[in-house]
């Protein structure tokens, strides 16, 4: 089976990351789904739970160029995308590319950045290019953003507008490692050092090929019907003010396809949709004012209650 053979390097990469990020099997899996589906990932966590490690490990294992930007309120869009500088010798403007010109960008604490900065990033995410002084500069491929957002209300943050959150294919929370994993972690070598020792398991070209495969994976009418049932359940639930957009529906199917590919299947099963639904929905649901629970718990609840057609 060539499909399984093609997958092997990716699975090897996954195992390698799991060695670094102990006890986060599901989250690592989801992050690979996101990469495979060609989407961007939003992490909602407190600092210090391994977000950096995850991003770093992903980049190292998939042989992707890695860049990192810490969003602060005084960071300017030019600091992110780059700037045209006049070269007096050549008597012309040279474009000095910013840290965004990388394959995997870790955008840390994205909600500390100004709205202007956020929209510069999100534009780049949506279009795969940046425009400076009227000149477009194409970003490298693949271009993956892993953004982190601090969930605790803090002063000096700019909440991302709902329309912007839609740009992130998946979102998840790593959470604290469980006790055994944490103990293991403490006993292990320093993580930074371990990351440095990670070996790339597949090339960017291989990754792009797998992406193409995922995109073309078969989704039967029955699977699409279930996807639709899930999407529409968010629109009729009274706890939800704004349900999932059609774009979210497309994302759900895209992520499910990637999930199915990772499971070495040629078609999407309800289980694939279920596996990614919460990650697709949690950051997109706009809850009613009096709703109890958060996006994730409501998504989980809907998942448990929407019958499979």
């Amino acid at each position: 089976m060539s499909a399984a053979d093609d997958l092997k390097p990716l699975l090897a990469a996954r195992d390698q990351i799991n060695e670094i990020l102990v006890g986060k099997l599901a989250e690592v899996h989801l992050s690979l789904v996101s990469v495979l589906a060609g989407g961007h990932l939003l992490l909602e966590d407190l600092p210090g739970v391994g977000k950096t490690t995850l991003a770093h490990a992903l980049a190292a294992s998939l042989d992707l160029g890695f860049g990192r930007v810490q969003f602060t309120s005084d960071l300017l869009p030019a600091d992110l995308v780059g700037v045209s500088v006049f070269d007096p010798n050549a008597r012309r403007f040279d474009f000095h590319s910013g840290p965004i010109f990388t394959q995997l960008l870790l955008a840390d604490e994205i909600n500390r950045g100004t709205p202007k900065l956020q929209s510069a990033l999100l534009e780049a995410m949506a279009e795969g290019q940046v425009t400076v002084d009227g000149v477009s500069h194409t970003l490298p491929k693949p271009f993956i953003v892993i953004a982190t957002q601090n969930p605790i209300e803090q002063s000096g943050t700019f909440a991302l507008p709902e329309s912007q959150l839609d740009r992130f294919l998946l979102s998840m929370s790593l959470g604290y490692p469980d006790a055994t994993a944490e103990k293991m972690l403490l006993g292990a070598r320093e993580r930074r050092q371990a990351i440095a020792e990670l070996k790339p398991k597949l090339s960017a070209e291989q990754l792009m090929a797998l992406r193409g495969k995922a995109e073309n994976l078969h989704a039967s009418a029955a699977a699409i019907e279930y996807a639709y049932a899930l999407i529409s359940s968010t629109r009729s639930d009274k706890r939800v003010r704004i349900g999932l957009s059609p774009r979210a529906g497309i994302g759900l199917l895209r992520a499910a396809k990637a999930h199915a590919l990772l499971a070495a299947r040629t078609h999407v099963l309800p289980e694939d949709l279920q596996a990614v639904f919460v990650a697709v929905a949690r950051h997109r649901l706009v809850l009613a004012a009096d709703a109890s629970g958060d996006g994730a718990s409501i998504s989980r609840d809907l998942l448990a209650h929407v019958p499979i057609p």
Partner: protein
């Protein structure tokens, strides 16, 4: 309707339920989805239907007696419409489907809101569906392709699993001349947590570090240093550490570790079981609200230490089910 009549009717149905359980077909705990069909739908003329019959009888008798064929024709037309409408009343319930029952867990003393989700298995629109749960009546239309919810509050009187009584689904559509009904008793249930103690007893004191097991907050070097990233303030760079590793590292602001506590069943003295559980429930809620890490110690099981939504639910679930017969 007078109160006496109402009481008599209630007593009558109680007798029917007791002696002829097959008639009222109060199926016990069926698996979802449940589609109504001819084996479980019952139909009788309604009170209005009987009045209608008397009126039509008078019209027909008069028409025949006076040999007035016009009046006879317009007495027979309503009769025919009524007869056919009986079938429509039946069809209004037939193939109506209960697809899902959902209720969030509640605390003892509150009401659990059970949502019964209905759709039409055959895609026909149903109008005027009435759900009766004890004395609560709710009415819905189920349009084709739609799943409609019928919410009934069910008082949660004791902790543990709460199963609702049978739900009666009825209709008089289209003309109110016939009354068709069926009983639904699904497997649906929800968990009732113990009633949180009120007024609240203060949380037990935070124990010494280490007693809890789990993480030692000690040296958190790894957490407090990270790679330099564009935009970091130079003041935050940990120069010493950077020199040691050869890469720029940035100091991260110290993250306060959550305080921890133990909620111990055995440590509560002088209360009966339910009140102990009640107090523990209150503590779990309080600990969760104040962001503490906590461990719930029940005889035979220890949960945690942990914090967050999932942990809270695990603790509450354990409290709800603790020492229940059959659980």
């Amino acid at each position: 309707m007078s109160a006496a009549l109402r009481r008599a009717r209630a007593a009558f149905w109680q007798q029917v339920d007791r002696r002829l359980p097959n008639l009222t077909r109060r199926h016990r705990f069926e698996a979802l989805p449940i589609a109504l069909n001819q084996r479980r739908i019952y139909i009788v003329p309604s009170g209005f239907g009987l009045m209608f019959a008397v009126m039509l009888f008078a019209i027909l008798a008069g028409a025949l007696n006076y040999n007035n064929n016009g009046a006879l024709l317009f007495g027979l037309l309503p009769v025919s419409l009524a007869v056919v409408s009986m079938h429509q009343t039946f069809r209004n319930l037939n193939q109506l489907q209960l697809v899902q029952v959902h209720a969030d867990p509640v605390f003892c003393g509150e009401s659990a809101l059970f949502s019964f989700h209905f759709n039409a298995a055959d895609g026909r629109t149903r109008f005027g569906i009435t759900g009766r749960y004890l004395d609560t009546y709710r009415h819905i239309d189920v349009r084709s392709g739609e799943t409609r919810r019928l919410d009934v509050p069910v008082p949660a009187l004791a902790r543990g699993w709460l199963s609702p009584a049978p739900l009666r689904i009825s209709t008089v559509w289209p003309f109110g001349l016939f009354f068709a009904w069926s009983y639904l008793h699904s497997q649906a249930r929800t968990l009732v947590y113990p009633r949180p103690e009120s007024p609240a007893a203060p949380l037990p004191a935070v124990p010494d570090a280490g007693k809890l097991g789990g993480t030692d907050p000690g040296d958190d070097d790894l957490r407090s240093l990270r790679d330099y990233a564009a935009g970091d303030s130079p003041r935050m760079i940990a120069w010493k550490a950077s020199a040691r590793t050869g890469e720029l590292l940035v100091r991260q602001l110290e993250v306060p570790r959550a305080k921890e506590t133990i909620l111990d069943f055995d440590a509560i003295i002088g209360l009966d079981l339910e009140r102990k559980l009640s107090r523990l429930t209150r503590w779990v809620l309080d600990a969760d609200r104040t962001g503490l890490r906590y461990r719930l110690d029940l005889p035979g099981q220890k949960i945690g230490p942990d914090q967050g939504h999932t942990h809270r639910l695990r603790c509450l679930k354990a409290l709800a089910q603790y020492a229940l017969a059959g659980s």
